[in-house]
Symmetry: C2
Subunit: 536 residues, 2 copies
């Protein structure tokens, strides 16, 4: 090899906000904070506050490589810590306040954080778990001086007298910057350590038109939590493109979001479907319009078709995304292409709404059969979805082994198709796919089809033990209030829509168990009906 002769400047997170402070100095960051008036700081002022926050952290005695934990909503102060911490070479653990106490304690101890920085309304959580935290030496409330709880230190008071510049250190771009834990449906939460390199590359790619497509004229209101995979990278993709930010703190109800959209001219937002269900409901009740809002990216679970149609009618583009904490998180984003557009507007929307998204530059994807053979991108055959790239994890924090195979592929646990346009469609979670006599049955596809049967409110499908076929599907149905749909009705509806061997062996009319995050709890269904087909 002949070495290139270009500068080996490391990619650093601090250079993102430094750039915005220079090239987009007057652009604003507008933020709610708990029980405080709305604040406004432009990028130039924010960069100074980031330096002040860094001096504060240093004054608390932390050193590069140390971890700090945040327990905070979507606010400017939380955003500032996203730069001050990594700028110093610290790792920011974004603790999830929605976790059960035992998991929250586990993650902060596992991170080994020396400082905990938290919002005013986290005081009760903190005082409940304080004596179980093994490494926390300092607690800082992310409040102004007058609203800091008695007996505690407050952020604004601590940074007020600090210098507004900092001599940011240079270090290896593979240095850790964020520690995000997966929610851990089984076993302990697992930590993913993002590096400066992975965050900057993800932020660069996220801003492209084939992903989030940001411009300096965008006003971005992140409604995905900053503690969920760094709000899908928006805090980094935003300043790279000079967007104005609007942070809603913890107020995600329809009225609060609408007030910010109207007051600040929000053009772009994103979050899980639940938030947007509430928002659309609010618009229906008030007869309001989304005004300046142009685009909403939705992830976390599949976008309900009704939601996409309603936003479309209101002139708002819905873009579905798919990703995981392990992928920083962007894996695919549903964006149009000329090839799709050539099929007409209706066909293009159908394609975009029914797929998780299209490949983006930087993430390699393949789908493989049970034998590990790569499957074609024909939109039909599905297989285990494997990903690889510079913002995909290699190993969980404190784990002994890599999370990838020897060629660097990470198994997402999802089963999907990929089509000739590069669109990926999840057909199932790997653990929920039903393996019947060597063939795969998609429980998600069966659920989606059954949900279309008149009278059906929720349909849930799980695979359980079958003495002949290894596994066979069973279905749980919840009826709409007052509906009298029968097993015969459901079977008749399914008959013309699915292959004969996909027909569930049993259909139960009973409540569908849900997880704490609103997903169907397949584990409970499988336990409850484990022996339903033993004598089949």
């Amino acid at each position: 090899m002949l070495p290139g002769l270009m500068q080996d400047r490391p990619l650093r997170i601090i250079d993102i906000i430094s750039f915005a402070a220079t090239a987009h100095s007057t652009q604003e960051i507008v933020s709610k904070n708990v029980d405080e008036p709305i604040s406004r700081h432009n990028y130039a002022a924010t960069f100074k506050r980031v330096a002040q926050a860094a001096h504060m952290l240093v004054s608390l005695g932390v050193k590069s490589g140390d971890r700090i934990s945040t327990l905070s909503w979507n606010t400017n102060r939380h955003f500032e810590l996203f730069y001050a911490g990594p700028g110093l070479g610290l790792v920011v653990h974004t603790a999830n306040p929605r976790l059960p106490d035992e998991h929250l304690i586990y993650t902060i101890n596992h991170a080994g954080s020396r400082v905990l920085l938290l919002d005013r309304n986290m005081q009760a959580i903190y005082e409940r778990i304080a004596d179980k935290l093994e490494t926390v030496e300092n607690v800082v409330f992310l409040t102004d001086a007058e609203r800091t709880p008695q007996g505690y230190q407050g952020y604004e008071a601590l940074i007020a007298d600090k210098p507004a510049t900092y001599d940011w250190p240079l270090f290896d771009e593979n240095t850790g910057a964020f520690l995000c834990y997966t929610s851990g449906t089984t076993g302990d939460p697992k930590g993913v350590v993002y590096s400066h390199r992975s965050v900057v590359l993800h932020g660069l790619a996220a801003g492209l038109s084939g992903a989030l497509g940001f411009a300096a004229f965008d006003v971005v209101m992140p409604c995905q939590s900053l503690y969920h995979a760094t709000a899908w990278g928006l805090p980094f993709a935003g300043p790279i493109n000079g967007v104005k930010f609007v942070f809603p703190c913890d107020k995600f109800d329809g009225a609060s979001l609408q007030a910010l959209i109207e007051g600040e001219g929000v053009t772009f937002s994103g979050g899980v479907p639940t938030i947007w269900t509430m928002y659309l409901e609010y618009l229906r009740q008030t007869g309001g319009s989304p005004g300046t809002l142009q685009r909403v990216i939705i992830g976390g679970s599949a976008v309900p078709r009704d939601m996409a149609v309603e936003f479309d009618r209101l002139g708002v583009t819905v873009q579905q995304i798919w990703g995981m904490t392990e992928t920083s998180p962007l894996g695919v984003v549903a964006t149009p292409t000329p090839a799709l557009a050539a099929e007409g507007d209706a066909a293009m929307k159908e394609q975009i709404w029914t797929r998780q998204g299209r490949m983006m530059f930087g993430i390699e994807m393949k789908i493989v059969s049970e034998e590990g053979e790569a499957l074609p991108h024909d939109g039909e055959q599905d297989g285990a979805l494997m990903v690889r790239g510079p913002w995909v994890l290699s190993r969980y924090f404190r784990a002994d082994d890599d999370a990838t195979d020897q060629d660097g592929w990470f198994d997402t646990g999802d089963v999907s198709t990929i089509d000739r346009f590069g669109f990926m469609r999840i057909t199932d979670r790997k653990k929920d796919v039903i393996k019947s006599g060597g063939e795969w049955i998609s429980s998600i596809d069966l659920e989606n089809i059954a949900a279309g049967c008149p009278g059906v409110k929720v349909a849930a499908v799980a695979g359980i033990y079958h003495p002949k076929w290894e596994e066979r599907p069973i279905m749980l149905i919840e009826r709409h209030d007052g509906a009298d749909v029968s097993e015969g009705d459901v079977r008749a509806y399914l008959k013309s829509r699915v292959a004969t061997w996909w027909m569930p062996d049993r259909i139960f009319f009973e409540d569908v168990p849900m997880t704490a995050t609103g997903k169907i709890d397949k584990k409970i269904i499988r336990d409850r009906h484990a022996h339903a087909l033993d004598s089949a």
Copy 2:
């Protein structure tokens, strides 16, 4: 430091075209080639041809680290070599056919290229210099089988029977990929070695809305030469964003460009001002319209105001860019921001047309005084423009010393201001700035102002020796045909527009000497009038 735990996949150029072949497989690359019909290959087909070209290069005996030289226009085959070569770990030297023979020979020998790949109409050049080339072992004409000159090997014949896949090697992302020589107004040309890392990062950043802002719906016709700093990175930023390409070969006349724009739906193009002067002249003569063309990026020298105004009237946005071979080349791109837009459309356009461009993410910039002190970004004070970042060179090829200072700053040789919006405006080349009694006078500013005086066609300013002030400005004026503007007229015009001490000591009415690339030749002016002020 705590190490991050993300995959350390190297950034590789081959992954760009591999991505496009998967996510934008049906998007086309349309190309002219010398004396051949227009060709069309989509990205999927192109990726196969890239693999075939790689097999061809291997069959010629080259190994990773070797250099190959191209002498080629803007064609699909040249584009394919931009991937096949680096994909193998080779370094592609894009030789400049416009160079004098002695420089061309020097660069190919200095590169040490083992293979020369050239277009059909380069045969005369090649045969003129062949016996001076010290390292070239193989010559391949980039032609189809029937048009390969007698006695030579042809590209299409060589790749035809090669496999359409290649097992691309993994290597360090700092491996060299391209070798581009600066034109060298003084001394020998100097080589800049782009790395895989620098090319991929530059390509990522170039696609953002704050730079070229590409989308999959763009149809990009590069009219900047592929041998000039890889056509400003378009061959990489394009596929990352899934654009359709249209390559005009060496046909940059108005009629040829207009035929491609109309026939292929070109939305985006770019190049030096000369090409666009010809194009606008063609539109005026034919009464044609730019049709689908939306944007033209112009660099190489400042965009003439008339050109910007005329394109604006035709509904085409002109974006000025500034960069150098040493900066890959994008340094700044003139893009709008909300802060500018707030000043109104006319003011915004004025700002954009009179600045070289705005800072883009990835390039740090500062301006410094003669004493090396950083100057404020006030749009007024000018200083030596210094740049730093992952796509700025660290050292010239085969040089013994770094081209940067110890903090990694590269001195561009330009003198500029930076304003509070992050816009950079070149006020002079460092070597053309006039140092009068410790103060700087911008020769470019003086020329631009004098050019506004009625009757003046061209004004040129240079600094020459002055016994008291060290240097003082003199001015050369060319009159418009039939104009009778006098020295008194020019002085009266300048008097109300420049500081007293900027007034030229002498004004000469004579022809202004120009360089081969159409720039004012200050060196000749200085030589011609070296002693004009000796007795002042």
